[in-house]
């Protein structure tokens, strides 16, 4: 029973991390119809830059605050510099982001090398918590990850539901041209949303990197999991990303605990089932 509780907690906390990564991805797609296949690269950049900042200053908290902001700026530059000029052509945008991801992955490999990098968060969150109710010793950092994901999730919900910007974003997801016709600077909104998506990716990077470690190949891995999460949850839906992330996290951990050999396949199988039954995803909009 203890094992089951621990594994379930593992799944939920991993789901939290996946939500952090996928939320930015789905938001950018929902509004801008851009599949940012460089999202994984932004994750990796966030992790590495965060690591460098933490390594140089010895202050992990500083890294957690500044690295995502840097990635947000990089994201905006990417969007304005490259993607804006081919706006509206999804396949071409997808290919440009693939090209960017290839280059970024190689350059990061050249700069940081092939071995993994470890983070040193403050001891307070790096220790274990005694979950008295379940009589389980659980890593505090995983709980921290979950807490961060919940805070971000609530923040996004608040942003989308209760702010003017959020209203514009939701309107833009529904009908971009109309929003623009109403006199709103849709390009500015795009830039903000892309920056937000990049910020979330960068934050996920440094959190995910601290959770385990950061190394080459993480970009493809987390991009893949973002894809699966949003395919299951529905593109453009933050709530869908949350549900999808939770499902993927749970299935991954249960699989690893009880059927390790094929655990990876289980997540894919789940995705295929969702696709077969409801192609737009669980909370996705029926009209694409």
């Amino acid at each position: 029973m203890r094992e089951f509780i621990t594994v379930t907690l593992n799944g939920i906390t991993l789901g939290g991390l996946y939500f952090l990564v996928a939320s930015g991805f789905t938001l950018v797609f929902g509004l801008m119809r851009v599949v940012n296949l460089a999202h994984g690269s932004l994750y990796l950049l966030g992790a590495y830059i965060g690591w460098s900042i933490a390594d140089a200053t010895g202050n992990w908290i500083l890294a957690v605050i500044t690295a995502p902001l840097i990635i947000a700026v990089i994201g905006i530059i990417l969007q304005q510099g490259l993607l804006r000029r081919i706006q509206g052509q999804d396949l071409r945008e997808a290919m440009v982001t693939i090209g960017v991801s290839i280059v970024v992955a190689d350059l990061l490999l050249a700069y940081y090398g092939g071995q993994s990098h470890e983070f040193s968060p403050p001891d307070a969150i790096n220790a274990s918590t005694n979950l008295v109710l379940a009589d389980v010793t659980y890593p505090t950092f995983r709980l921290f990850t979950l807490a961060t994901a919940v805070v971000i999730g609530v923040g996004l919900w608040f942003l989308l539901r209760h702010t003017r910007l959020g209203m514009i974003i939701r309107a833009g997801i529904d009908d971009r041209e109309m929003v623009s016709a109403l006199g709103i600077n849709i390009q500015l909104v795009f830039a903000i949303v892309f920056g937000l998506g990049a910020l979330l990716a960068g934050l996920a990077g440094i959190i995910g990197g601290t959770n385990l470690s950061v190394g080459p190949g993480d970009d493809s891995l987390y991009l893949l999991y973002s894809l699966i999460t949003v395919i299951i949850g529905g593109m453009g839906s933050v709530g869908g990303a949350a549900i999808g992330a939770l499902l993927v996290g749970l299935v991954a951990q249960y699989g690893l605990a009880y059927a390790p050999t094929y655990s990876v396949l289980l997540t894919f199988a789940m995705m295929i089932i969702v696709l077969a039954v409801r192609p737009q995803g669980l909370l996705g909009r029926p009209s694409v």
Binding site: E3, T6, V7, N10, L14, L109, G113, G114, Q115, S116, E118, S120, D123, N126, A127, S128, T137, Y138, P139, T140, F141, R142, L212, S213, G215, P216, G217, L221, A252, Q253, Y254, L256, A257, P260, T261, S263, V264
Partner: protein, 441 residues
């Protein structure tokens, strides 16, 4: 829908053909593909700019991707061997040509082919990883007139099952690398019940197989085995399912994965000790600070080298490595060492035959088969499958006076052969090591 007009088809064709022709013509002539025969027999006629007074050594290592650092150290080993001979043998200059693979068998094969057929090397040293070794061995069979020596690849089957007559491995394999450890942890450390955690592919199978053969024979019990998919970094569920009544966990993961695992294990409140595979207790692990420090102390491991080997010949080797390569590792890795030994074997044999590579390198092969020499870890000689018989080292993580961790040499197991002392026929009957074999719950 407008149908397409023939005129436009013509112009389209024209454009494409012109391009194709230009491209092909330019490229082929510029890159100078020369009409040599494909079998690679004997005469290397100096195409690709090779002079008659040159012995060209090909080096294949993973110079790109995540293992680039190991590949670079591998090349350092080859350079050290060449330097020992002053860069010349029998009046001919020794040159090294390197090609890169990315730890996949297909690319390794292509790189080997490039070295042999395009770069015109006389012999080849490599590859680095286990599955690549199997691919290169298969390729070697198609090039009987060239000599192939191993780099660091350590899959047992490369020489034990279906060996190639021109593939020589003067370094030990993944099973041999575990010699001595099983007995040590059972008798000296007193671990009786353990669990095993490893990645689900051939090299860990060899490591776990080699370890468990001894451990089970000594009387130990392996209560549970965890085989995780390659590339797993999240061990939280493994940790959750770890049995609690065990003395230790044998972890055959790489250094950074081991740290991940250890971190998660400790955070979940795990109490058992660790035993390391050959690549487990590396620099990443030894430079751990903080709460994991206590858990890394006392981890036993085994492999073909020991950093703290006090013998003068090893110290000399490490010293030469450091002075030749100030930007290398603090101590030569097993990649530098294995590539060095294999390259040195080739050069020793070449020296004995005065650089005579004629007749499909026949003399070269014969000399290599019977060659034995002293390496920084002791004497090495070959068995009938051209596989090395050499010493193995058991190490223990200890701390130095200034608190830094290092691998202390605690035992030398002499003259370990591929079948761990068991007659070959009997050993083969035990079957290939895989997820379920061996087993001693």
């Amino acid at each position: 829908m407008k149908a397409r007009m023939p005129i436009s088809i013509q112009s389209r064709w024209l454009h494409r053909l012109v391009l194709l022709l230009c491209a092909l013509a330019l490229i082929t002539t510029a890159c100078g593909g020369s009409p040599t025969n494909s079998g690679g027999s004997g005469l290397n006629t100096g195409s690709s700019g090779k002079s008659a007074n040159e012995i060209r050594i090909g080096a294949l290592a993973t110079l790109s991707g995540a293992f680039a650092v190991d590949g670079q150290d591998a090349l350092r080993g080859v350079k050290m061997a060449i330097a020992e001979f002053g860069g010349k043998i029998a009046g001919k200059t020794l040159t090294m040509v390197s090609e890169s693979s990315d730890a996949t068998p297909a690319v390794a094969r292509d790189a080997a082919r490039k070295l042999i057929e395009q770069d015109n090397v006389d012999l080849m040293v490599g590859p680095l990883s286990g599955d690549e070794g199997l691919a290169v061995r298969d390729y070697a069979k198609t090039q009987p007139g060239k000599v192939f020596l191993n780099g660091s690849s350590a899959a047992q089957d490369t020489t034990l099952r279906n060996p190639a007559p021109n593939f020589f491995r003067f370094s030990t394999d993944g099973v041999q690398w575990m010699a001595g450890l099983g007995t040590y942890v059972y008798q000296t450390q007193g671990y009786k019940r353990i669990a095993v955690l490893a990645e689900d592919y051939s090299f860990p199978y060899s490591q776990v197989g080699g370890f468990m053969t001894e451990f089970c024979r000594a009387g130990g019990h392996v209560v549970k085995k965890f085989w995780v998919p390659i590339g797993t970094t999240d061990y939280s569920s493994v940790v959750s399912s770890m049995p609690s009544n065990i003395d230790a966990i044998y972890v055959a993961l790489g250094g950074s994965d081991s740290i991940n695992f250890l971190k998660q294990y400790v955070q979940f409140g795990g109490k058992a000790k660790l035993i390391g595979g050959t690549v487990t207790v590396d620099q990443t692990v030894l430079s751990t600070k903080g709460p994991l420090y206590q858990h890394v102390l006392g981890v036993a491991s085994a492999g073909p080298i020991a950093d703290s080997n006090p013998t003068p010949v090893w110290q000399q080797f490490a010293h030469t490595y450091k002075s030749m390569f100030p930007d290398g590792f603090p101590s030569p890795s097993l990649f530098a060492f294995t590539y060095y030994v294999n390259a040195k074997a080739a050069l020793l044999a070449l020296k004995q035959i005065n650089g005579d590579l004629s007749n499909g390198e026949a003399k070269f092969r014969n000399t290599l088969s019977t060659l034995q020499f002293d390496t920084p870890t002791g004497l090495v000689k070959l068995d009938q499958n051209r596989q090395a018989i050499a010493n193995n080292f058991v190490t223990l993580v200890d701390k130095q006076t200034d608190g830094t961790l290092y691998n202390k040499l605690v035992q030398i197991v002499p003259n370990v052969n591929q079948t761990l002392g068991v007659p070959e026929a009997q050993y083969l009957q035990l079957g290939e090591f895989n997820r379920d074999n061996p087993s001693c719950p």
